[in-house]
Amino acid sequence: MLRRESTGPAFRLMSKPDAEIVQFDNVGLRYGTGKEVLTDISFTLYPGSFYFLTGASGAGKTSLLKLLYLSQRPSRGLIRMFGTDAITLPRERLPGFRRRIGVVFQDFRLVPHLSAFDNVALPLRVAGVSEREIARPVADMLDWVGLGDRRHARPATLSGGEQQRVAIARAVIARPDMLVADEPTGNVDPEMALKLLRLFESLNRLGTTVVVATHDLHLIRDVPESLIMRLDKGRLADPTGALRYPPRRAASPSPAEATAR
């Protein structure tokens, strides 16, 4: 997957074009002058794959997701996203990349002054989609997550589970190339959790790469084709997928495998 090429003045990591959606190579992250919260993280995510990111609280799952949705730059290492070096990516090109990533934040991060409808419509409005084209899909999405009758409600008046569903609807409305979700089913009942998981699977089948950080082993069981990445004290404890529950296959399938799925 990664190969070193020595044609330039220094070694460069090169990838096969369009073979992978994300590459991390020896990535480290520290906040300020503190110790590293992520150390030597190396993995590859392929288009159309479904990944679970597991690990104990404080293992670095959220930090790793922040790197994935370009909210943080790593302290060291190399990251390529969508075939482009994300480390040296000019700031003005970040919005274009972020629009290709849907994010479900652990704390939902809904915009408090906007209604549920406007929160879900936000990614489309940011992308410049016309109001006429926004109304229908947003209404459908809210119906689908069971909030059709709460479309005018502000986040403060929604329950935790309802806020989470709005956050998920917002993350998937623009049908991103990659969906990153941090504990997306933590505040919903098992029935809704399963329903949301099926939504993620549907998106996945349409080609979206899905990365879900979770503690919920039942959730992992419900997606048998998924791949596991497990973080332990800031290190990727199972880059080969051997610790997957139940153990089945490597965390980084070959491009051929990913395409076949």
Binding site: S71, P95, R98, V103, L114, L122, R125, V126, G128, E131
Partner: protein
């Protein structure tokens, strides 16, 4: 609007962009102190600019009036000699190249000039006072030093008691004072503009701080700095336009009141200080310049702050 937007290329896209932008951040127009701050700044700027323009007009009118003016005084205690020399000086000046007009001020006019100081009691013989004979000379161009010297050279042989002075010279200290006041008005306008910029800068930073979380979310969803800056610009434009309108009305009302206070003075210089239509247009443009300055400041402040965020 929908039908119009669909017919005009680009208008629909602009409207969609504007609608979308407006929903990115909460809009708290006309609720904070910013419109009032801008109204006060604009009103003070209009008063300062109006005063500066009035002073400029007065100085220009006086300068144009006095530019080619020369006063010849025949200072002699003997009335007969004074008259003789005055007549000789008038005759010498009338034939001189570059002299447009020569007018000897009548004795009755001179008496009227000194009357307020000396009184007109029955029996007073004002004619017995050694009041100089005055000759008002208009040159066809500015009364420079060379021309004054030439006039002296022509007059002194026939009227040795003559004193020749450029009229503009008498008012030189007044012009200098007017110039200083104009600079003061300009300085005040510059300071007010700086204060406006500082106020907008602080307000923008404050708003950025209040909406930081929302801005981060919009960033994470792929929002650009320009999209976010547009929201702040639009908010500031609304506040500045409202403040500018109020400031314009307040400033114009102040100028009208000042004009009414000064008008009864009846001085020629005060009359010349009246504002022309171009001056009024300039004053009316000040709120627009204020809005542009506020919007530009908000945009640059927000973009600079956003550049520090990832």
């Amino acid at each position: 609007m929908t039908a119009l937007a669909s017919r005009i290329p680009g208008l629909a896209a602009w409207r969609n962009r504007a609608n979308g932008d407006v929903r990115l951040l909460p809009q708290g127009h006309l609720s904070g102190p910013m419109p009032w701050v801008i109204a006060i700044m604009i009103a003070l700027t209009i008063v300062a600019a109006g005063s500066g323009l009035a002073l400029r007009n007065a100085a220009r009118a006086a300068s144009a009036d006095l530019e080619g003016g020369v006063t010849v005084q025949i200072v002699s205690a003997a009335p007969a000699e004074r008259n003789r020399q005055a007549d000789a000086a008038v005759a010498a000046l009338k034939g001189m190249v570059g002299v447009a007009a020569v007018h000897r001020v009548a004795q009755s006019d001179l008496e009227a000039l000194v009357e307020p100081w000396l009184g007109t009691r029955p029996g007073d013989d004002i004619e017995a006072l050694p009041i100089p004979a005055l000759i008002d000379v208009r040159l066809s161009g500015p009364a420079g030093r060379d021309r004054i010297a030439a006039l002296r050279a022509r007059i002194i042989p026939v009227a040795p008691a003559a004193r020749v002075d450029a009229q503009a010279g008498w008012l030189a200290p007044v012009f200098a004072a007017i110039g200083a006041l104009q600079w003061l008005a300009g300085g005040l306008i510059a300071l007010l503009a700086l204060a406006t910029v500082a106020s907008v800068l602080l307000a923008s930073r404050n708003a950025l701080g209040n909406h930081r979380e929302t801005i981060e979310i919009v960033h994470m969803l792929g929002g650009t700095d320009r999209q976010i800056a547009r929201v702040f610009q639009r908010g500031m434009a609304v506040d500045a336009a409202a403040g500018g309108m109020a400031g314009l009305l307040l400033g114009l009302a102040t100028i009208f009141m000042l004009g009414r206070q000064f008008a009864p003075l009846g001085s020629g210089m005060m009359g010349a200080a009246a504002l022309g239509w171009s001056d009024w247009l300039l004053l009316a443009a000040i709120p627009m310049l204020g809005v542009a300055l506020a919007v530009l400041t908000a945009r640059l402040t927000v973009l600079a702050a956003l550049r520090k965020m990832l």
